[in-house]
């Protein structure tokens, strides 16, 4: 169960957060949410796929770390094997909350195994001033929240121009086993190149063209993900 509290210098003066990346600390996940403003950085390592929530009829962008639930192929004994981690996973166990008057606040998931150790990174210093670590987290949460709200318009544009298509991909691993990746959408490249000038200008003016191409380019990372999976299976 999650147990969210408002982060304050008085209540959390001595709080330390474990920042290592291990399965025990909740990093063994197959995906995490990502937002268009970080697609450029996300696509340096991870495939970006879109998932349709049928009940709410809305799309979410996901950075992929593995092929099945609980599988994170970037997690190694030496930590997270990539220079960039998506905001949503890097900012844990903090999250954005809403206070009175819809003011955004930093909240803390008290149920997180990252909390409560004597080793780890401090959030406030002895005087109650946020540490550089918390300053970075606050920047990340701000970016994530702002963009998550804005991404509804991004997906509306993708649907307006019918730029999303369902992905069905069969992956054959080195051991001969066949795996099928279903339930995701990707950018429809044929429709993207066929867009008329007005549509391109419209998407460009809204700042969507860059993330669209970044998402398209990110699919090249699926090959890297398969290679990681093969290596892991070889190692046993």
């Amino acid at each position: 169960m999650s147990d969210h509290v408002i982060l304050t210098a008085d209540d959390h003066r001595d709080l330390r957060i474990r920042t290592e990346r291990t399965p025990e600390l909740g990093d063994a996940v197959m995906t995490c949410i990502t937002v268009p403003s970080e697609f450029r950085r996300v696509q340096t390592h991870y495939p970006i796929l879109f998932q349709l929530d049928q009940t709410r009829d809305s799309f979410t962008a996901l950075a992929m770390f593995g092929f099945e639930p609980g599988e994170n192929l970037f997690l190694t004994d030496a930590g997270w094997d990539a220079r960039y981690r998506p905001l949503a996973i890097d900012s844990q166990p903090f999250l954005v909350g809403r206070g009175a008057g819809d003011v955004r606040q930093v909240h803390l998931d008290m149920a997180s195994p990252r909390i409560g150790a004597r080793e780890g990174t401090r959030v406030f210093d002895d005087t109650g001033r946020p540490t550089p670590y918390l300053e970075r987290i606050a920047d990340q949460l701000r970016a994530l929240d702002t963009d998550y709200v804005a991404s509804a318009d991004f997906f509306a544009a993708l649907r307006r121009y019918e730029l999303l298509e369902p992905l069905t991909m069969d992956v054959t691993l080195d051991d001969g086993s066949k795996n099928r990746l279903v339930g995701y959408h990707v950018i429809d490249e044929d429709r993207l190149v066929a867009l008329d000038d007005a549509a391109v200008a419209d998407l460009h003016a809204a700042g969507y063209l860059m993330p669209i191409f970044m998402a398209l380019a990110s699919l090249g990372n699926i090959g890297d993900l398969i290679a990681r999976k093969n290596r892991r299976m070889t190692r046993g």
Binding site: R16, R118, E119, G120, T121, D125, D126, T131, P132, Y133
Partner: protein, 526 residues
């Protein structure tokens, strides 16, 4: 001791059998380093034998190391966790000097192991004199980390890596025991527990063998004298002269004591050296105890007065703890005129001893082995040339250590006879006098320390000089490369200090967690 005549030794005689006489920190460090660095696949692999007398108690030299110990342990093949646990060790990030300048309550400065931020020392020192505050705090982040009793590394980091430069505080007795196990069980060192009763030499003067009470003659090609103050080989056998340094360094006694500490109590990040009327007091924190000792000059302070001084120091921090008996150590600051004679190399106390202010004992052992093994004489013919080089290099190093130790005293404003005597011009090495004259006009820089492997870099002199309140030089006539860059560097230090203070665990949390994670699980018997 009797010297037999044996056959002459030719210059192409290979050096393969190493015999170390004496255990203790010096003997076992020597054995481990030689055995670990020896090439096992060569045509004539080295054999290492250590002869240790069961009759002679070892003196635990120093409880502080230099950062070099990290590389030494890594070379020997001991993991950092094993070392920290086996030696009851803690991290040492420098030394704090309390009361050295005036003795006033706020008279304190730090000499951290991490060098100042990389910049022209003229710019750094002039920026510091404009900003004010403590020099060490301004030019690096380590001061704040030490102040908060934080560790220099996180447990997740690879062995012997740190975000700040560090060394260790340790239990020297336990270090010798760990090295003994490692040398004999892992590195193939032959351990002979026997008393040396004689030395066999050739007519040319080389040692052929040491004769033991029960194990016969132990022959070798190179003999390492680790027999401590006894100096059986370099002193008794060869009669190599010693050079007294007590004209410069007066301390010749110490009263030592160990106080248990409460579980969970903070562990200091540095050696604390507190000046008193005729010497100083060391205070070294380990996870389970504090090692405290009063160093003094018997010419300036009686044993009873020293005991009173030590008692007052202990009572100031532990008012109610029972007071254990003090152990007295007598020493003299001196070293050999030569350290390598014929086929005998003196390592450790047999080579010399200086008062323990800069924990120079163990590092000199490490440096001696580095010098031996980096230029190992594979044949007898090369040995005399290497010995001459070694003697020149180490004479230079002992001189530099004496000067650096003396620097701590000559800048004091304290008025006791002991401190006044330390400022007597006749007691100050001429080279130090010259440097101090130079430093009135420019800060210590690389140009003052021209050797490639200087034992103390210019940074160490800067920390002591400006910690002791030496006046910073005014701007000289020659422009420096980039003053603006210095301001940027100094601004970055503040961010780094905040980052490290947030991310580093306390020494106590680190070392307790180490014990917690590696303690064997308790098994319940049926």
């Amino acid at each position: 001791m009797a010297t037999n005549t044996g056959p002459g030794i030719t210059s192409d005689h290979p050096i393969t059998h190493i015999v170390i006489v004496g255990g203790g920190t010096a003997g076992w460090l020597t054995a481990c380093l030689i055995a670990a660095r020896a090439d096992r696949d060569t045509a004539r692999p080295l054999s290492v034998t250590l002869v240790e007398s069961p009759d002679v108690a070892t003196i635990g030299v120093g409880e502080g190391t230099w950062p070099t110990m990290r590389r030494t342990l890594e070379r020997i093949g001991i993991t950092e966790t094993d070392f920290l646990l086996a030696c009851d060790a803690a991290f040492k990030q420098g030394s704090r000097f309390d009361g050295w300048r005036t003795g006033a309550a706020d008279d304190s400065y730090l000499h951290p192991f991490t060098a100042p931020v990389d910049g022209d020392p003229r710019d750094l020192v002039s920026a510091w004199s404009e900003h004010g505050g403590r020099f060490a705090d301004m030019v690096g982040a380590q001061g704040a980390i030490c102040h908060h009793d934080l560790a220099p590394r996180q447990r997740a980091m690879p062995d012997y890596a740190g975000t700040l430069n560090y060394a260790y505080h340790l239990d020297a007795g336990k270090l010798a025991a760990l090295l003994t196990r490692h040398a004999t069980e892992r590195l193939g060192v032959r351990h002979v527990r026997d008393h040396v009763v004689g030395i066999d030499g050739t007519e040319h003067g080389d040692i052929v063998a040491v004769r033991t009470r029960a194990s016969g003659a132990i022959a070798g090609d190179l003999f390492v004298d680790c027999t401590g103050h006894a100096a059986l080989l370099i002193g008794d056998h060869y009669g190599v002269a010693t050079i007294d340094r007590d004209r410069e360094l007066f301390n010749d006694r110490a009263l030592a004591v160990q106080m248990p500490v409460a579980a969970g109590s903070p562990i200091a990040s540095q050696t604390n050296a507190t000046a008193h009327a005729a010497g100083w007091i060391w205070d070294i924190g380990l996870p389970t105890r504090r090692g405290i000792g009063c160093v003094y000059s018997s010419g300036h302070l009686s044993d009873d007065a020293a005991a009173d001084t030590l008692t007052r120091h202990i009572r100031a921090t532990a008012p109610d703890a029972p007071l254990p008996t003090f152990r007295q150590l007598k020493f003299q600051s001196r070293h050999r005129a030569k350290f390598w004679e014929r086929n005998c190399l003196a390592v450790g106390l047999s080579a010399g001893f200086l008062e323990p202010l800069e924990a120079s004992a163990i590092v000199l052992i490490e440096l001696s082995l580095d010098a031996l093994l980096d230029n190992f004489p594979s044949h007898r013919g090369a040995m005399d040339i290497q010995a001459t080089r070694f003697n020149t290099l180490f004479r230079y190093r002992w001189d530099r250590i004496v000067e650096f130790l003396k620097l701590h005293y000559v800048l004091s404003e304290r008025d006791d006879p002991y401190w006044r005597d330390h400022r007597d011009a006749a007691s100050i090495p001429p080279r130090l006098v010259e440097l101090l004259a130079l430093w009135r006009h420019q800060p210590p820089s690389r140009a003052d320390f021209p050797m490639i492997d200087e034992i103390f870099p210019a940074a160490s002199y800067q920390y002591v000089l400006y910690g002791m309140g030496f006046p910073p030089p005014t701007r000289g006539p020659i422009a420096t490369a980039d003053r603006a860059r210095t301001e940027t560097l100094l601004a970055q230090i503040d961010q780094r200090r905040r980052m490290l203070a947030a991310g580093l665990p306390s020494n106590r949390a680190y070392l307790d967690a180490l014990r917690h994670t590696t303690a064997p699980a308790m098994e319940l018997s049926a």
